[in-house]
């Protein structure tokens, strides 16, 4: 009797498991990383965004630089890398009026923090930075020069 109930339970659990997974067509991702510097010194807490252009698949990706200015791009879904192709790159660094870093869990639109890099670098539609990501080209360093702090 115990065996019967056990097997029924496990059969039920197995049945429950079926049909819960969703599969999505996956695009091969190239792990993209690099270094952001401003006048030679590494920039931390800068948001690096890869915006897909032309025939590039996917929805691009973004990353925040660490204390040594390094970044590793992730897709909006959290996977490491972006699909191969052409990208515009925007690098944004927002600081509070007192120069401190903004709280990452505060919505940017409600934050007092403001952009410190010029629009030609920081604005996704106006940036002049470009990157062509391929299997061999996946390291992108951005030596910025400017008036930013």
């Amino acid at each position: 009797m115990r065996n019967v109930s056990c097997s029924m339970m496990s059969a039920g659990i197995l049945l429950l498991g079926i049909g819960c997974g969703s599969s999505q067509p996956t695009i091969a991702l190239v792990p993209v990383s690099g270094l952001v510097t401003l006048d030679g010194s590494p920039v931390d807490q800068a948001k690096v965004t890869f915006v897909p252009q032309l025939e590039t698949k996917g929805n691009g990706g973004w990353a925040i630089t660490d204390a040594s200015g390094k970044y590793t791009i992730k897709t909006p879904q959290g996977a490491v890398g972006v699909p191969m192709g052409d990208y515009k790159v925007a690098i944004s660094r927002r600081l509070n009026p007192d120069g401190s870093l903004p709280n990452p869990d505060e919505p940017p639109i409600e934050s007092k923090a403001r952009e410190t890099l010029p629009l030609g670098v920081s604005d996704e539609s106006k940036t002049t930075l470009k990157a062509n990501v391929s299997a061999t080209s996946k390291q992108f360093d951005w030596p910025l020069k400017g008036k930013g702090k």
Partner: protein
């Protein structure tokens, strides 16, 4: 000699513990099978109702187009966009959503007769931040008292039954707590005018979406084909960075739905997991239906568009006359 049972009750055999456990286990398995099935049917019904809402809105826009010779604008009289006196801003600041003009075609005649379309819906007339002046070419038309109170009216056609997000919009200025909606016109995020000019659609060149501030698109202007171009998009009532949308009024970060950038991009807290149903930023398209979001195309057909579509494909489906025929799936 066997002991006799000394009882006036007739002898009845009781269930053993094991038997009871088996019965309970079987019932548990049956419930386990049934509940997900019922939930799936409920979600399927909600999704269908959601699709139907979009269809109603799209048909209402077509009726409006038949009567007026052009589609409704995404909104009129924005007060927060930067304009000098004599500049590109509307002279009457209304902060009105184009849906207000469509009410009469959505069987909302009573509401349509109550709203004052020449008075403002919110008195927002300053820019977002940083000393942006707002629309200095315009003056706030009347007060938002009446229209603001009416903006709280819940119109079921604007809400997707699958979404249990916020009931009201997060931002309002002088108006009431506007009822939150799940569907809005496809308009570029640049229309939000965060520090840029007014009437961006009017001065917008070739890559225009079907809607924008004071847009006056005719269906014949949709040169890429009405069945290939997004007209109305689905969005969520929970938005992390910015605000959800209202049928009554427009505000900065409340200008419409812009699928460019991807569908269902959820907010992920630092070190946490993505919060499905909570869009990461304003103006994005998304839905709580797994795997994509619903869109009404220019011909009023409604499609479920998968979130595996790339940003560039979605952008081309937004632009009504960029000369590219794209295929969203």
């Amino acid at each position: 000699m066997m002991p006799l049972v000394v009882s006036d009750r007739p002898f009845r055999k009781a269930f053993t513990l094991i038997e009871l456990l088996v019965v309970i286990a079987i019932i548990a398995v049956l419930i386990g099978l049934l509940v997900p099935a019922v939930q799936k049917v409920r979600e399927a019904a909600n999704r269908m109702s959601c699709t139907n809402n979009l269809k109603q809105l799209a048909l209402a826009c077509h009726s409006y187009e038949s009567a007026n010779g052009k589609l409704p604008p995404a909104g009129k009289g924005y007060g927060w966009c930067s304009s000098a006196a004599g500049g590109s801003g509307d002279t009457a600041i209304l902060n009105m959503s184009g849906w207000v003009l469509v009410l009469a075609y959505l069987e909302q005649t009573a509401l349509d007769s109550q709203v004052n379309k020449s008075a403002c819906f919110s008195d927002l007339n300053t820019g977002w931040c940083c000393g942006f002046t707002g629309n200095l070419n315009g003056t706030v038309a009347g007060t938002p008292a009446t229209n603001g109170a009416l903006s709280a009216t819940v119109i079921k056609t604007f809400q997707c039954p699958s979404d249990f997000g916020r009931a009201t919009v997060e931002y309002n200025s002088g108006g009431g707590a506007g009822s939150a909606i799940n569907y809005d016109f496809i308009a570029s995020r640049s229309d939000a005018g965060l520090g840029s000019g007014c009437n961006i659609w009017r001065n917008g060149g070739t890559n225009r979406y079907m809607f924008g501030e004071n847009s006056n698109t005719r269906l014949t202007d949709v040169l890429d084909g009405t069945s290939n171009t997004f007209m109305i998009g689905e969005t969520c009532r929970n938005v992390w960075n910015g605000s959800n949308l209202s049928w009554a009024y427009r505000s900065w970060v409340m200008t419409g739905v812009d699928p460019n950038g991807g569908l269902n991009i959820w907010y992920t807290p630092t070190g946490g997991t993505a919060q499905a149903g909570n869009l990461s930023s304003w103006g994005q398209a998304g839905s709580v239906h797994t795997g994509g979001a619903n869109f009404a195309m220019g011909d009023a057909s409604v499609r479920f568009v998968r979130d595996s579509n790339s940003s560039t494909t979605l952008l081309r489906a937004c632009a009504m006359a960029d000369g590219t025929i794209n295929v969203v799936d």
